[in-house]
Amino acid sequence: MPYICAGDPTPELSQKLLLTLEESGADLIEFGVPFSDPIADGPTIQRASERALAGKISLRQIIDLVREVRRKTEIPIALMSYYNPIFRMGEEEFCRSATEAGVDGVIVPDLPPEEAGTLLASAEQYNLATVFLVSPTSTPERLNAIAAVSSGFTYCVSVTGVTGARDSLSDEIAPMISQLREHTYKPVCVGFGVSTRKQAHEVAQLADGVIVGSAIINVIEQHLDDEAAILSNVREFAGELARGVKEG
């Protein structure tokens, strides 16, 4: 399950990347909505957001991008957005237009269930999946509450920290997942800090899905002014990750 930032480096290339990622074996794509103040993100996704915002991309345009790409692919797409762009658009309007465009789910990293009442109501109305995040610091009561409002899957943040590629996996993943499974039968996916085929394979032994973001953006970043190189290198790297998940 790859993450890319919509509009990084351009909206057109984002669309091509979505299709490339599907061809590389992705099962679901997290399409990031860039935000000016991404407090849960490390430097890689911060830079991706800055590049995307330099092109003035907005949440509405990103929904339109999904609408266009839907003509060519059925792959599940979840928008990952900080809360303010959704709040500004209006939660009902967001859920309505996103679902109409073919978005399958939404992940809001700065929206805990306590503040999510209105978004949940609209999402349910329009049948948009809501993915909430659990973290190594979540208490059993919170795991339970978060799993209860998550539809689609529950997103396990593997480390106490921000997004970004890391050399080694956190040893908190296994206990967190087994605890979470006591509260939910829904799929559990792990993200933050997974960056290699080997790590993806290890996580896949525990979880139902593996989310890789910064490591893919690092590949994009290495070839910024060469569209063909971005697409071919992302295809190769995402294929590696998918094989790691599915084969080892």
Binding site: I39, Q46, P85, L133, V162
Partner: protein
């Protein structure tokens, strides 16, 4: 009055907790610790001891006689937060929170700072209580407030430059949130204004309320009545809320918050989030903020680093929406005039932040009756603003 915030951390529609899940347990832990300590007589006694012996409270409510005469209207009193140890109101809050962090067993303190006043106030208490301290500060602010960087480092704090985004307070807050997300188990985030996720706006307000509580007692002693108007500058809003909150139920006391109009409101280069902004969610709370139509945050602008912030505290947002307080704005140029006026007439060099409040008083005092009373929060002293890039524009005025 209704207790504010409510049990879920909201001030009407404002406030709340919009943070990554990793921080939620820490916010709940902090709320619980504070709930117990805020009614613990021993804790309150300790807080008052350090405010008296270390900060130097109570500070005077000073009758600014020459300023009053010059403006020819209402009597003007200055609440002298500039006379506190470290030269600003920020230390009221850092003393309170460091005592809280100690009781919670935290060893490492992180903070954000804009003008550097909160960073200095944090470095001061971490030195005094022997705790590790890291302060995040935008690179642009480090340049315009070099003296405060020096002071923090002298007291043993690590000052980490933030080079992302607008390189000012908002980005320093982002960096401190990212540090806290990473080190939440060992680290206490010492927020310096009435912003952020619940319970921070409440905690900072409570610790800063000593400003208004003292002002109330002092004006009753001097004048036998409450002021007609209290005035304070608003960036995030801690000195103003500290001044306003104890007067909340005194319906005849008008509250006026003064924001930074920067180059001008029309130029778009300003920091008037209450006067000109719209409702959104930023840095963990629902509040008024400066933003684009699509929800991206717009960088603020002010000559004063302490007001250069695109959001504002949720309780101020509530006061604005409910009409309990009114909010106005003062341009960079007007603030510089206020800065000079107070220096020349009273021999008091105000911080540029406080100079915004003085500049608004210049406008309203002449229109008020001579029996009327204005109490202004002089939130800090202006030594930090005399050097650097402020030197030339100030000198040009003479």
């Amino acid at each position: 009055m209704q207790p504010l915030p409510d049990a879920t951390g909201h001030f009407g529609e404002f406030g709340g907790r919009y943070v990554p899940e990793t921080l939620m347990p820490a916010l709940l832990e902090l709320e619980e610790a504070y709930r117990v300590l805020s009614v613990d007589p021993e804790f309150q006694k300790e807080f008052k001891y350090y405010l008296r012996e270390y900060v130097g409270r109570p500070n005077p409510l000073y009758y600014a006689e020459r300023l009053t005469e010059e403006l020819g209207g209402a009597k003007i009193y200055l609440k002298r937060e500039d006379l506190n140890h470290t030269g600003a109101h920020k230390i009221n809050n850092t003393v309170g929170q460091i005592l809280l962090a100690r009781r919670m067993g935290k060893k490492r303190i992180i903070a954000e700072t804009g003008a550097g006043q909160h960073g200095v106030a944090t470095a001061t208490v971490t030195a005094k209580f022997n705790m590790e301290c890291e302060v995040y500060m935008g690179e642009e602010d480090m340049e315009r407030q070099a003296l405060n960087v020096f002071r923090m480092r002298l007291m043993g704090a690590k000052v980490t430059p933030v080079d992302s985004g607008s390189r000012t307070l908002k980005d320093a807050i982002n960096a401190s949130f990212r540090d806290w997300v990473t080190n939440v188990r060992t680290t206490y985030l010492l927020i310096g204004s009435v912003v952020g996720a619940h319970p921070y706006p409440m905690i900072v307000r409570d610790f800063q309320s000593v400003i208004g509580v003292e002002t109330r007692e002092q004006i009753l002693e001097k004048e036998g009545r409450l002021p007609d108007c209290v005035v304070a500058s608003v960036g995030g809003g801690s000195n103003s809320l500290g001044m306003f909150y104890p007067f909340y139920d005194d319906e005849n006391v008008e509250m006026v918050g003064v924001e930074a109009a920067g180059e001008s409101i029309l130029s778009g280069k300003h920091a008037a989030s209450l006067s000109e902004g719209s409702v959104g969610v930023f840095h963990g709370a629902k509040c008024y903020l400066l933003q684009e139509d699509d929800g991206q945050i717009t960088p603020a602008h002010s000559i004063s680093a302490g007001l250069d912030y695109p959001g504002v505290g949720p309780e101020h947002s509530y006061y604005k929406a409910s009409g309990r307080a009114s909010y106005v704005s003062i341009t960079d140029d007007e603030a510089v005039e206020g800065f000079k006026l107070l220096s020349e007439l009273e021999g008091i060099i105000p911080a540029l932040e406080s100079a915004h409040a003085i500049a608004h008083v210049e406008k309203i005092a002449p229109m008020m009756d001579q029996n009327a009373i204005i109490a202004v929060c002089l939130s800090g002293r202006g030594d930090k603003d005399v050097g650097g890039e402020m030197g030339p524009p100030l000198a040009l005025g003479h």
